[in-house]
Each structure stands twice: as structure tokens, then as C-alpha cells.
Symmetry: C2
Subunit: 343 residues, 2 copies
């Protein structure tokens, strides 16, 4: 517990930056806001974030603004989804700038004179989110935790074994606090999206129901297609130049797949792309290392064990990967098949 003290944001009202959007720091405060929205029969869209906002988050906000009367964003850096050796301490925290970016986002509703902006920001403390406390060491944890067994051990879970447990736990809490009609997540975290849909289905949740957990296509840098991510901020100028390699490798694998090549060859071609870049990077002392590139079924999330399975009526296949650039770990993915069939 004590080790987390430095990261518990002090959320007394006086410490909050000025904001025209209401900032709510406790569940009790938020419930009053939510109750009023319900009385007024307003739909609520929800965009959960860990802050350090970029245009990827704004894509989620824009979709929520378009599809709901009211939009709530949460900003909470969740200790439970960081392993003790990971970057909880250094994760970018940029609240004043986040609020500026969010405030600037607005949407004119056609056939309506009103302009929609985000209606509330939920900024809970660690204590508010974890009433029984939280320790990053899973073995020392006390209180209520969730796991989505069979879906969080592969892909990202293989490299980060307690990650989805932390995600499932905090998102369940956030869903219960916010009680949204719709929730928006970025495709970049595709396994997270699919696990959360399953969680809502398994838990018989109505806020949101699984069909209202929306997967929004990954936002990319328009110049080189790098997937937008708060962790891109960690990259050196050199690393930033190399970062688009992961998506390039995935696109090569996708092309090979569409050309009818077996999975192993698709992965081999993608791996070659990374290897060539890594060799060059090593000359300037930057370590580039592929964590994985893999094909997984989108329903079971199991590694695709057939050479070819994408058929017209089948569920999509997830082609995903993770790449280390120095000490920064980046992820990306491509959905092969019809996104609308993701469950």
C-alpha cells in the first residue's frame, strides 16, 4: 500500500485545474449527476481513459458525443493493471492539458441548435476506486478482483499476466459508478475490447450491455500510420522514426494472408521487416525487439491453429503484435474480416 502513496493524486477540489466541464471526484457526487441525467431521460456515453489524451481518445469522445445526449470521460491511472516492474510511476499525467483538449472538443447536432461537449469528467482517487486498498503485488492484494479466464492469458496477457485482471476489475468498478448506456474503447487495445464485451455478457450487465461496448477503429498518425498511444510520448526522436515498423510488419502479414499464404509464412514475412529495422537501429545503439506477432480467433482469442480459417461466415481473425523500442512497448493490430462480427 505505502508504495502507492506518491501516485495517489490529491483530489481535493482546490487542487483541481479550472474547468468549464464539471469535475467529479467521488462516486457519491457522480451518482447525483447520474440520477439527474436519468430523470431527464438523457442517454450517457462513457469514455474511460488514463489521461495523457491524444486524438485517439478524441475519436472515442467524438463518437460518444454523436451517439449520446451526454458524454462522461473518466481519467484514472489504474494501479492494478501495472505489474510492479512496469511504468505506473512514469505513466504520463497531464491533467490540465487533458481538460483543455477535452473542452475544445465539440459537436453540432444536426437538426438541433445545441452544440455538444463532454458533460462531466470523473476523476476518482485511488482510495475511491479501491475501498479495500490496492497493492500492485497480486499476492498481497485484498478485496474484490475479477478475472476473465481463458481470454486474458494469450496475446497481451502472455507478456503481461496480471494486466487484464487489473483492467477487468477497474472497468467493472467504472461501469458501476458511471452506469453508461454506451461505452467506447479503441481498437488498438483489441483484446481489452473483446474481454470487456465478454465480461459484460458474463456478468449480465445492463450498463452497458455487451452490444453497447463499442470498438472504435485505431487512430493513426496521418503521416506514417503509427497508432496513437499515450506511451508514444516515451519515444526518443530516433525511436519515434522506427515506431511505425510494427504496423508496417502487420500490413505485410495481412497482405500475405490475403494472398492466401499460410499463417506461419505471414508471420515470418512480418518478422523479417522488424529484424531488418532492428539491425539498423542497433548501429545507433537503440534496441528494437519484437515481442510477438500472432493470429488469434476473435471469439475464443485462441491462437489460430489452422493454416487458413477465414471464411465468409466465420468470425474475424485478430492479427496483432507488440514491439519493444528501447524500454517502450508498443502494440497494434489489424482485424481480418468483418469488424461488425466481433462479439
Amino acid at each position: 500500500m505505502n508504495r502507492l502513496r506518491p501516485f495517489v493524486r490529491t483530489m481535493s477540489t482546490s487542487a483541481l485545474p479550472p474547468s468549464t466541464i464539471p469535475l467529479l471526484t467521488t462516486v457519491a457526487e457522480f451518482r447525483l449527476w447520474r440520477e439527474a441525467a436519468r430523470r431527464d431521460n438523457k442517454s450517457v456515453g462513457f469514455v474511460p481513459t488514463m489521461g495523457a489524451l491524444h486524438d485517439g481518445h478524441m475519436c472515442l469522445v467524438r463518437k460518444s458525443l454523436a451517439e449520446n445526449d451526454l458524454t462522461v470521460m473518466s481519467i484514472f491511472v489504474n494501479p492494478a493493471q501495472f505489474a510492479p516492474h512496469e511504468d505506473l510511476a512514469t505513466y504520463p499525467r497531464t491533467l490540465p492539458r487533458d481538460l483543455e483538449i477535452l473542452t475544445a472538443e465539440s459537436l453540432s447536432v444536426s437538426g438541433d441548435s445545441t452544440i455538444r461537449t463532454a458533460s462531466a469528467v470523473f476523476l476518482p482517487s485511488v482510495r475511491e476506486m479501491y475501498p479495500s486498498g490496492i497493492d500492485q503485488n497480486v499476492a498481497a492484494q485484498k478485496g474484490t478482483f475479477l478475472e476473465v479466464k481463458g481470454y486474458g492469458e494469450q496475446m497481451e496477457g502472455k507478456s503481461r499476466p496480471t494486466f487484464f485482471r487489473g483492467v477487468a476489475t477497474v472497468v467493472t468498478k467504472l461501469f458501476n459508478a458511471i452506469e453508461p448506456n454506451n461505452a467506447y474503447f479503441g481498437q488498438k487495445d483489441i483484446q481489452q475490447c473483446l474481454i470487456l464485451k465478454r465480461l459484460c455478457r458474463d456478468l449480465l450487465l445492463s450498463h452497458p450491455d455487451p452490444a453497447h461496448v463499442h470498438i472504435v477503429p485505431t487512430a493513426r498518425d496521418p503521416t506514417d500510420n503509427l497508432a496513437l498511444s499515450s506511451r508514444n510520448a516515451y519515444l526518443s526522436a530516433e525511436g519515434r522514426k522506427i515506431a511505425p515498423t510494427l504496423y508496417k510488419a502487420l500490413k505485410v502479414a495481412e497482405q500475405a494472408w490475403n494472398d492466401g499464404q499460410p499463417k506461419e509464412l505471414c508471420i515470418a514475412q512480418a518478422t523479417d521487416i522488424v529484424r531488418n529495422v532492428a539491425t539498423l537501429a542497433k548501429e545507433s545503439d537503440l534496441e528494437v525487439r519484437l515481442d510477438y506477432i500472432e493470429f488469434n480467433e476473435s471469439d475464443s482469442l485462441e491462437v489460430l491453429d489452422r493454416t487458413r480459417c477465414l471464411e465468409v461466415d466465420s468470425r474475424p481473425v485478430i492479427l496483432s503484435g507488440a514491439l519493444w523500442i528501447g524500454s517502450t512497448r508498443l502494440i497494434d493490430n489489424i482485424v481480418l474480416g468483418d469488424m461488425a462480427k466481433l462479439q
Copy 2:
């Protein structure tokens, strides 16, 4: 999965017994009912059960009828809370009789001409409750499960290590399906009550909020104070005579405690009571064996490690035990201190 097939109650409407109380078998059906109740601004009390109703359940129903506009009972034998070697297959299933008992229960509301009875019974199938399937073998399970770490390993959890995981998981699902304002549980399962209060607090649940998880005093046989339990049905005539021994032993420990004796002596005196009965029972070939008698703090559920800790402003202490009579395991408990201080 296949091993559970025989226990999946077929819930097609034609298979249901006749009932004047609406029987709802799917979450979708129930949501319509719930939505209507919300529109009418009616409060909903919830009594989750595994059926095999007795007057203990009816005490919960009576309290719910008194405190809510509408009362919902669920009847669902939850596979996830039985270990593979436990009594899932033989657990008493008495639906037609359960519905008769529930229908007969009514309450005249003072200052109101209406007579309240239960308003709906939720009778989900295993598939409805576990959309990702359920295997009693924890290692083989897939899908979303909850654990309340640090509170489910002692007392009952020591003898039944996966029990509270199953309870936490199914009750979370039921709370999400029913969305009750109030929920009612019997004190006999005191650890379950306290874990569920913590679960609601940890998960920031509003339906119900932790203060609306109500602990109703254990209902007892008026002749010999045996705690009412569906598992009492397993007892032979001989076993039934011996069954009140557990409560007698707990009462002796309570008396010793109130006399100011240290915990160890209180437990020793209670154990003696059981030992004497066990010796007699052995003569008629009935094995009676004490599983445990223990004192636990009510907030942490940790074993009481002081000789004396009950002070005026402190939380209550739980004195609880489990007794085997042949192959039937009975539990009981006494709360030392102010029940209203249980959190």
C-alpha cells in the same frame, strides 16, 4: 461441461409448475419486468435462494415484503459454489413446493389496503447465468469470475476453498440481472453476508449499495434452536437429534466469552460439548466430527489473535463453527457485539 448437463433444469415455459406469481426464466424477460417497476417508481427487494425453501428463507421474504414495494426471489442452484466432490447432484430441488410456500406468504401493509406477496420469481437456467459455460473444476473454467481476496480463505473458505469465489460470481450476476434496491441474506451464512457487503463496496455497486445488503437473524427450530437449513433435509432421525449440538457448543463458548474467559478456553469448552456427543453417537455408528469453532474479527474476518478484544466501540466478533454429522455438514454462528455495526 457435459458433467453438468443432468443438473441443467429445463426451463421451457411448459415445464414450469403453475404459479400465480410470475415466473421469469431469462434475463431479457426479467429486464422488462424491472423496467416497468422502475417506471412506476417501485422499490425492489431481492431474496436470492437455491430453493428447497424453509422458514429461514421466509424470514427474508417477510422482511423484504415489509421494506419494499415489490419483492423478487431467485431460485438457482449455483454449480460454481460446489466443489466437484460436493453435493450439487443431490442438493434438494423442490420447485413446486417452493412456489406453494412462497405464494402462501403475504403481508398486510398498515395504512394501506393492499396485501403484499412476492411479485416475481427469477428461475434462470445454468446457461443463462453462465453464458461462457461453467465447469465445477476451477482450473477448467472459462469466462468471468470474482474473488474477494483476504476474506474468503478463512472460516468456511478454509474447508471450502472455491466456495466464496462461486458465491461472489453468481451473486454479482444476480445483482446485475435483478438490480435490487435491497437484498436479504440470512445470518447463518455470516461470512457470505460480510463478503457480499464488501463486494458491493469494492465494486462501487448501486444495486444494492453495501448498506442495503441486509443480514437477517438466523431462523431456528423453536423446539431445539437448530438453525434452519436446506441441508437439514439430509439428516437421519438420529442425526437430526444430534444436529443442535453445534449451536449448544457455540452458546457455551459465548457464555464463557461473556464471563471474560480467553478465546482458547471458550473454544475448548465448546469442543468438549461436541466431543461428548460424538462419543455417544459413535455407539450407534454415526460419525460426528467438529470441523472448526473459531472467533474472527468481523471487519477483516481474520482469526481473533487477542485473548480479548470486544470493546464498546469496536466492531463485533464472529463466533462460528461447522459440524459434520455423517456426510452432512452444518454451520452456525453467533455475533458477539452489535449486529448493526457489521459492515
